[in-house]
C-alpha cells in the first residue's frame, strides 16, 4: 500500500515536471515546477477517492486503468481550479500545460501501474502476495472455482479448503484440498486456516446455510466475504456488473470479448492479417499452382462453426489429409502446415481471429457439443492453445485449455499465444496438433 502511494507520487511528479518542461518550450526553465508539484498530494488524494488504493480491486482486469484515467482527469481539473486561487504564481499557467499534464499523468501513472502488475503477477506465480481463501460449497461450482484459481496463479488467490453442507469432514475435493467442516463451523475454519477471505458459492450450498452466513458472516473478524454468482457455472460469457435501484445486477454480454478488448483484438487481427497478405497470397498461389500441376483440385471447402453459432465456408489447400492418397506436393504442404494459409482471408472477413479456439467443422460439431456454449462466445482462431501442444492430448485436456482461454481472455494472453506460435513456426514445429482418442478423424485439415 505504502509502495503504491510512493509509486503514484513519483509517477505524478515525473509527469507534471515533464509537462512543465515541455510547456516551457524545453528552454530548461523549471521555475513553474515547484508550484505544480502541489499536484502530487492532490492527485494521490483523488486516486484514493477513486478506490485506486483498495488492494482487493487492483491488479486484475481493465477497471483499474479506467479509474486511473478518471483520477488523472479529475486531478488535472483540480490543478486548474487551484490555479484560479494561486494567482499570480499560477499552478497551471497555460492551457497547453493543462493538456500536457493530463496526457502525461495518464501515461505515467498507467505505465507505472502496468509495470507494477507485472511485478505482482510474477511474485504471485511464485507463491507470494497470495490471499488464502476458504470456499463455501464444494459442489461442481466450488470445484471448478478451485481449479480456476489453481490454473490462474497470478490472480493471487490460494484456496486452502472447503466448508460444505453435503460432504463429510475430511472428504477430498480436488488437488489435495478437503472439506474442513460444515458452513456452521466457518468461523472456526477461518481461524484455524488463517484464511484472508471466504468465497461463497450459493449454488453449491443449502439455502438455510447461505441465509445464516449472510446474517453471521459480518462477524468473521474482518475476513472478506465474496459471493460467486451462479452465472459462472453456466457459461463463460462476459459479465458486467450494473447497479440499478441500488441492486447489483449481472448483465450477460452476448460475446465474451467486448468493449476495449474487442477493439484491441480486432485491430490486432486486421493488422496481422493485412501484414501477412503479401506473403500469404504468393505462397497460396504457388501451392495452388503446384497442386493443379499434379492434377489435384487445389482448394476444398469445409463448413465451419463460427462465433454465436453462425456457420461459414472455410477454404483450405487440399492436402488430401486425412484418408486421401497424398502425392508428394500434398505431403509437403501438409507437413509444413500450409493447408491452413487461406484461412487468413477469413480473418479479414471477420469470421475468424488470429488467436482463438480450434475451428470446428459443422460435421464434427456433435463431438464438441458439451463445450459449445463456451466455444461459441469467441471467433475460432488460426492458432491458439490447441495448436501449441508438443504431445498429442485428449479432447478433454484440449478443451479445458481452450475454456481457460475463453474465460480468462486478455489481449496479453493473445499476444503470449501469438509469440509462442511464431516461435514454433520459426523452430520448424508448426505441425498439425494431434489429439488422442481419434478426435481428429474425418477429412478436416484443421484437425
Amino acid at each position: 500500500m505504502l509502495g503504491l502511494l510512493l509509486l503514484d507520487s513519483v509517477a505524478v511528479a515525473v509527469a507534471l515536471a515533464a509537462a512543465q518542461w515541455l510547456a516551457s518550450d524545453q528552454d530548461g526553465s523549471w521555475a513553474g515546477v515547484l508550484p505544480l508539484l502541489v499536484g502530487v498530494p492532490v492527485a494521490v488524494a483523488v486516486f484514493g477517492l477513486h478506490r485506486l488504493y483498495v488492494l482487493d480491486e487492483l491488479f486484475e482486469g481493465p477497471t483499474e486503468y479506467g479509474r486511473v484515467i478518471y483520477g488523472c482527469t479529475v486531478s488535472t481539473l483540480g490543478l486548474i481550479v487551484l490555479g484560479f486561487w494561486t494567482q499570480p504564481a499560477s499552478v497551471v499557467s497555460s492551457r497547453e500545460l493543462a493538456a500536457l499534464a493530463w496526457v502525461l499523468l495518464i501515461l505515467a501513472v498507467g505505465v507505472a501501474r502496468f509495470l507494477l502488475r507485472r511485478v505482482v503477477r510474477t511474485i504471485r506465480r511464485r507463491g507470494g502476495l497470495t490471499s488464502r481463501a476458504i470456499v463455501v460449497g464444494a459442489g461442481a461450482a466450488g470445484l471448478s472455482l478451485a481449479r480456476h484459481f489453481a490454473d490462474l496463479k497470478h490472480a493471487g488467490v490460494r484456496i486452502v479448503g472447503f466448508v460444505d453442507d453435503f460432504l463429510p469432514v475430511g472428504t477430498p475435493v480436488v488437488d489435495g484440498l478437503k472439506v474442513l467442516g460444515p458452513p456452521s463451523s466457518l468461523a472456526r475454519v477461518v481461524e484455524e486456516t488463517g484464511a484472508h477471505e471466504v468465497i461463497v458459492v450459493p449454488a453449491a450450498m443449502a439455502w438455510e446455510s447461505f441465509r445464516e452466513l449472510s446474517h453471521s458472516g459480518l462477524n468473521l473478524n474482518g475476513t472478506a466475504i465474496r459471493v460467486l454468482p451462479a452465472v459462472r457455472d453456466v457459461v463463460a460469457a462476459n459479465v458486467k456488473v450494473h447497479e440499478r435501484g441500488f441492486l447489483p445486477f449481472l448483465t450477460l454480454e452476448r460475446f465474451r470479448i467486448s468493449g476495449v478488448d474487442a477493439v484491441l483484438k480486432g485491430a490486432m487481427d486486421y493488422a496481422l492479417a493485412l501484414g501477412a497478405l503479401p506473403v500469404v497470397l504468393p505462397v497460396v498461389g504457388l501451392a495452388a499452382t503446384a497442386l493443379l500441376v499434379t492434377g489435384v483440385r487445389p482448394f476444398r471447402v469445409v463448413r465451419m462453426v463460427g462465433r454465436g453459432g453462425t456457420t461459414f465456408r472455410a477454404v483450405f489447400l487440399d492436402t488430401g489429409w486425412p484418408g486421401g492418397v497424398q502425392n508428394a506436393v500434398q505431403r509437403l504442404l501438409y507437413r509444413l502446415g500450409l493447408d491452413r494459409l487461406p484461412l487468413v482471408l477469413h480473418v479479414l472477413r471477420g469470421q475468424m481471429s488470429v488467436v482463438g479456439p480450434r475451428p470446428i467443422p459443422v460435421a464434427r460439431r456433435a463431438v464438441y457439443e458439451s463445450w459449445m456454449p463456451d466455444l461459441l462466445l469467441v471467433k475460432p482462431g488460426l492458432t491458439g492453445m490447441w495448436a501449441l501442444w508438443d504431445e498429442p492430448v485428449s479432447i478433454d485436456d484440449e478443451m479445458r485449455a481452450t475454456l481457460f482461454y475463453v474465460r480468462n481472455y486478455t489481449i496479453w494472453l493473445d499476444l503470449e499465444l501469438l509469440v509462442r506460435s511464431v516461435l514454433r513456426l520459426v523452430g520448424g514445429r508448426w505441425a498439425h496438433p494431434a489429439m488422442e482418442g481419434g478426435a481428429a478423424r474425418g477429412r478436416v485439415a484443421v484437425h
Binding site: D165, P168, V169, P182, W207, S209
Partner: protein, 344 residues
C-alpha cells in the same frame, strides 16, 4: 419449491430415559449422534384447493380437500398432523423420501415430523429455532397423536451432531459434545450399522416399556437407572476419545436394555450379535426401541473387515455413514411469500 431434510440418529446410551413417565421423576439422559442419512421433504405451494402428500417409502398417496375433516391415521399421520397444526388445508403438495427404510430404529418417524415441520414453517416464512422445531415435533407426536415415544429423536433430528440430551420435568437441555476430530473420524470408521432386514413396529415395544415404567415395575426401573448411568459414562468416554470404553459400555447397556420389555431382542438378533462379538466386535445393540432394524456395533478398525464378512454371510448388509453436524436444514427455498399470506 422447498426442500428440507432432517437426519436420523444412532443412540449410544440412555434410550428409554427420555420417556416422560421416567424423566419427570428421575431425570433422563441420552447420548446420541445424527448421521448423514436423511428424511427429505419436497414442498410446493400451489393454487389448488386441496393438500396432497406422497411418500415413496410407504408408496402412499393422500389427497384431501379443504372442506374435509382431517383424519389422523395411517402411514401419513405425521405430516398430516403438522399441516393441521398450521391450519393448512389447501394449496400444499408434499413429497416425502427417506434414505433409510421406515421402522428400523434410527428415529426416522420423528425425523419425518422434524423435516416436515422445518419445511412447512420455512414455506410459511417462519424462522423457528432448533429448540422450537424439536419441542413442536414432540408436542405433535406425543400430545397430539398420542404416540408412546420419548423425546430424544425429535431433539437429535432438529439439532444434529453428537449430543448429550438431558430430560427434566421443566425442560430439555441439549449439550453438543465437542469431540476431537480424530474421535469423530474413528466413530465413523469403527461404528458399524447392519440392516437386519427386519422392520418392526416400534410402538408396541415402546408401549410395553412405557406401561412398565408407569406401573413402577422395579426391574424395568432398575434397568433404566443403569442405562442412565451408562449414558453418563458414555458421555465421558466419548469426550475422552476412549472408544474401547464406548464398546464395552454398549455391550453392558445392551444386556440391560433386553430386560426392559419383551420383544426388544429375539433369537435371530442374538445370533447376529454373538457372531459379531465372536469375530471381534466389542459391543453393540439394536438401534432404537428394539425388535429388529439396524444392528449397531462398535468394532476396532483391524476387526472391521472380519465382522463385516461374518455378518454379511448371515445375510446382513452394512450401511456406510458419516456424522451429520447440522441437523434439520432447508436446502432449497424458492417458495413464494404467498404461502405466508395465504395461511396467515
Amino acid at each position: 419449491m422447498l426442500i428440507a431434510r432432517a437426519p436420523v440418529r444412532i443412540s449410544f446410551a440412555g434410550g428409554g430415559t427420555d420417556f416422560e413417565d421416567y424423566y419427570a421423576r428421575f431425570g433422563g439422559l441420552v447420548v446420541s449422534a445424527t448421521i448423514d442419512k436423511y428424511i427429505y421433504v419436497f414442498l410446493t405451494v400451489n393454487r389448488g384447493e386441496s393438500i396432497q402428500i406422497m411418500s415413496s417409502d410407504y408408496r402412499t398417496f393422500h389427497r384431501q380437500r379443504a372442506e374435509e375433516n382431517m383424519l389422523w391415521d395411517g402411514d401419513l399421520a405425521l405430516p398430516r398432523a403438522v399441516l393441521n397444526h398450521f391450519n393448512i388445508r389447501e394449496g400444499f403438495s408434499m413429497f416425502l423420501a427417506s434414505q433409510v427404510p421406515p421402522g428400523t430404529g434410527l428415529g426416522s418417524s420423528s425425523a419425518v415430523t422434524v423435516a416436515v415441520l422445518k419445511g412447512v414453517s420455512g414455506a410459511l416464512g417462519l424462522q423457528l429455532s432448533k429448540r422450537q422445531v424439536a419441542e413442536l415435533a414432540c408436542f405433535i407426536e406425543i400430545e397430539k397423536l398420542g404416540m408412546p415415544i420419548g423425546k430424544q429423536d425429535q431433539f437429535a433430528a432438529a439439532y444434529g451432531g453428537v449430543n448429550a440430551i438431558t430430560f427434566e420435568r421443566d425442560g430439555v437441555t441439549v449439550e453438543p459434545l465437542a469431540l476431537r476430530s480424530d474421535t469423530l473420524e474413528a466413530l465413523e470408521r469403527e461404528i458399524l450399522l447392519f440392516y437386519t432386514g427386519v422392520a418392526r413396529e416400534a410402538a408396541r415395544v415402546l408401549d410395553a416399556q412405557r406401561r412398565a415404567i408407569a406401573a413402577d415395575d422395579a426391574a424395568v426401573l432398575t434397568s433404566l437407572h443403569a442405562i442412565k448411568a451408562a449414558a453418563v459414562e458414555m458421555r465421558r468416554y466419548l469426550l475422552a476419545g476412549d472408544l474401547g470404553g464406548v464398546g464395552e459400555l454398549l455391550h453392558a447397556s445392551w444386556e440391560q436394555k433386553k430386560r426392559l420389555a419383551p420383544g426388544i431382542s429375539n433369537a435371530r438378533i442374538d445370533e447376529y450379535y454373538e457372531t459379531a462379538r465372536a469375530h471381534g466386535a466389542i459391543g453393540g445393540k439394536i438401534a432404537g426401541a428394539g425388535g429388529g432394524g439396524f444392528l449397531m456395533l462398535y468394532c476396532p478398525l483391524r476387526r472391521v473387515g472380519r465382522v463385516t464378512d461374518a455378518l454379511e454371510r448371515l445375510g446382513l448388509r452394512r450401511m456406510d455413514f458419516a456424522m451429520d453436524r447440522d441437523g434439520a436444514r432447508i436446502l432449497v427455498n424458492n417458495t413464494l411469500p404467498l404461502a405466508a399470506a395465504r395461511y396467515a
